[in-house]
């Protein structure tokens, strides 16, 4: 009686451990083997950008008009390949109905004739949150667009690496621009 419960729970425990472990493994693969792409952020509505402890990100590439695969509905999953634009930032090359044979593609959701990229939050620490919010707003305005994210891309997975403001990683930027106390 006891032994079958224990056995079942052992299997359940393994499953419980496997889920977060598989998340880590997949992400580590992407971070190790993926190639780096820079995504420039889109101008944001300052009120909407910050929610609690993460920066809500929007990217220029998400405003780029693409030609969706035929007969694809809103919100359906597509595979997006990337290309570099003249300034060295990532642009969407094609939105495909099935997995391409290359390594550099992302799974994204179709939004009419644009796509929604699978990363839109940048988690920050409680301590840095207010400063990060102010800095991101200042660097991502319509007249002054100076923020981008580095993303590692590997076979559908996209790992958000770092948010850069004014060419510096968020943490360094905040230290350099810390308000004198």
């Amino acid at each position: 009686m006891k032994s079958w419960r224990l056995l079942v729970f052992a299997v359940v425990s393994l499953a419980q451990l496997a889920v977060p472990a598989s998340l880590i493994w997949k992400r580590e693969q992407t971070l190790r083997h993926g190639s780096v792409w820079k995504f420039r952020t889109a101008p944001v509505d300052p009120v909407d950008a910050f929610r609690g402890r993460y920066v809500a990100l929007e990217f220029e590439a998400e405003g780029q008009a693409i030609s969706p695969p035929p007969n694809f509905a809103y919100d359906q999953r597509v595979f997006v390949t990337l290309r570099l634009n003249a300034e060295g930032f990532a642009e969407i090359d094609q939105a495909l109905p099935s997995r391409p044979a290359v390594d550099d593609f992302i799974e994204a959701q179709l939004r009419g004739n644009t796509v929604s990229l699978p990363f839109d939050k940048y988690w920050v620490t409680e301590r840095d949150a207010p400063a990060a919010e102010a800095a991101y707003r200042a660097q991502s305005r319509r007249d002054k667009q100076n923020a981008f994210c580095t993303v590692r891309v590997f076979r559908g997975d996209a790992a958000l690496e770092q948010l850069y403001l004014d060419g510096q990683p968020l943490g360094e930027y905040l230290r350099a621009n810390a308000a004198p106390k």
Binding site: S13, V19, P20, L23, K121, T125
Partner: protein, 444 residues
């Protein structure tokens, strides 16, 4: 023995000395009563208190752990943060194994270990996601969490865990869409499969301890989950049919309380009776307005001719709810003559009204039908109260009629003339029934 109200038992025990003194009971009889109630009374409250404090304690610890780890420690390296994410999970698993081995007979230990483990699963996934900036959608997170929690619910036979599972399924169905709040997608129909996975555990709880508060909690969570899932299903299937499917839902809720839990407590009806009454009266009042039947969708072919399989399936689920309500009502009519079954007529009335509205597109007759239903329900309950001498029930019947009257007072579709006549009729009815009640009481 029936689960007695503890306050009633306490009152009886306090009365005993006086009863003995006045010679109503012999000293032996009083002692026998005292022993009888002491025996049945002692175990239960202490057990409930212990289970409650165990659950509360584990919830607090779980929440504390979540808050601690949510404080995104950027000064720690990724491996350290991952180790921290796994720590509560591994500890909770160790505790769970200990409970399975040594404390399997204690409900409190099982509840506590299961809750801690379920919380730890969510914590581990959430913290790893944060550490690695993994985005993923919320609905999928909830789904994975609940599917991992489900075996724990079965292994540890936990009521709170099962209730959490049903709530989780509800959260999943509400968050599994990109569009507006009720912009459902056929994907949502999976929620019925999710709920079905928890039902055997619920049945086991019913068999083991049907009149406990734990079972009531699980049943409430299941009912709430079913209501939200049915709402999503109505959006996918025949849209105008929600009137019938929710009439059926509230009928089922009422019947569960009234017909299958008659032995709930000595002095009170089951909470589902009250919930069913509230649901039935609210929805019936809403449908008694012509406005609620005025919709463009009657002309919409989609309404009864679904195009894809999810639509057909959704329509099937809607119809299944109506059938379940009708069968349940028939069963209750056959078996349980003593309970008030009039509210169960709501499901067939709503179906007939919907059919008429569908055929004619005219809102007048369906709304009139609902008006007559509420009036009949009020009068029936009133008369039932008068005949059986239950003042509360008679008053409740009058309250139903009063609700109907207030609804018609705010009804813009009726002319003042009609409203006037109706109000005079209801007023006369009130005076008449009161006269009857008091005459009968005076005679009795």
């Amino acid at each position: 023995m029936r689960t007695a109200d503890r306050s009633g038992t306490r009152w009886l025990l306090a009365e005993l000395p006086e009863l003995v003194a006045s010679g109503v009971l012999s000293a032996e009889a009083a002692e026998a009563l005292r022993q009888h109630y002491a025996a049945t009374d002692s175990g239960e409250p202490r057990r409930i208190g212990f289970v409650l404090s165990a659950i509360l304690g584990s919830l607090l610890i779980g929440a504390g752990i979540i808050l601690l780890v949510a404080h995104n420690w950027d000064f720690l390296s990724r491996p350290v943060r991952c180790a921290i994410a796994f720590t509560p999970l591994v500890l909770s698993q160790a505790l769970a194994i200990f409970v399975l081995l040594r404390r399997n007979e204690s409900a409190s230990w099982r509840e506590a270990a299961a809750i801690l483990n379920v919380t730890a699963i969510g914590t581990a996934i959430a913290l790893v996601s944060q550490t690695y900036q993994i985005q993923g959608d919320f609905a999928r997170f909830i789904l994975v969490w609940m599917l991992l929690a489900l075996p724990v619910v079965y292994l540890f036979r936990t009521s709170l865990g099962l209730a959490i599972y049903f709530v989780g399924a509800t959260i999943w169905v509400l968050s599994s869409k990109g569009g507006p709040f009720f912009g459902a997608r056929p994907n949502d129909l999976w929620v019925w499969a999710l709920l079905a996975l928890g039902v055997p555990a619920f049945i086991a709880r019913l068999r083991q301890d049907r009149n406990s508060y734990g079972t009531l909690l699980v049943m409430t969570a299941l009912a709430v989950a079913a209501a939200f899932s049915l709402g999503q299903t109505d959006e996918i299937g025949a849209r105008s049919f929600w009137r019938c499917s929710f009439a059926a839902f509230w009928t089922v809720v009422y019947l569960v309380g009234a017909a299958t839990f008659k032995d709930w407590r000595a002095t009170r009806p089951h909470p589902f009776v009250a919930a069913g009454w509230i649901g039935i009266l609210s929805l019936a009042t809403f449908l008694s307005f012509q406005e609620s039947w005025r919709t463009q969708r009657w002309q919409n072919a989609v309404d009864l001719m679904p195009r894809h399989y999810p639509d057909v399936l959704a329509a099937g689920i809607q119809i299944a709810w109506v059938l379940a309500a009708l069968l349940f009502a028939a069963y209750a009519l056959w078996k349980e003559r003593k309970v008030n079954l009039a509210p169960a007529a709501f499901a067939p009335v709503a179906v007939i009204a919907w059919g008429i509205a569908k055929q004619t597109g005219d809102p007048l007759i369906p709304s009139l039908l609902l008006n007559f239903f509420m009036l009949a329900l009020g009068i029936f309950t009133l008369l039932r109260g008068i005949w059986s001498g239950r003042v509360v029930e008679a008053n409740f019947g009058m309250l139903i009629i009063a609700i109907l009257a207030v609804a018609r007072f705010f009804d813009n579709d009726l002319e003042f003339f009609v409203r006037g006549i109706a109000f005079i009729a209801i007023g006369l009815g009130f005076l008449g029934t009161n006269l009857v009640v008091f005459k009968r009481r005076a005679r009795a």
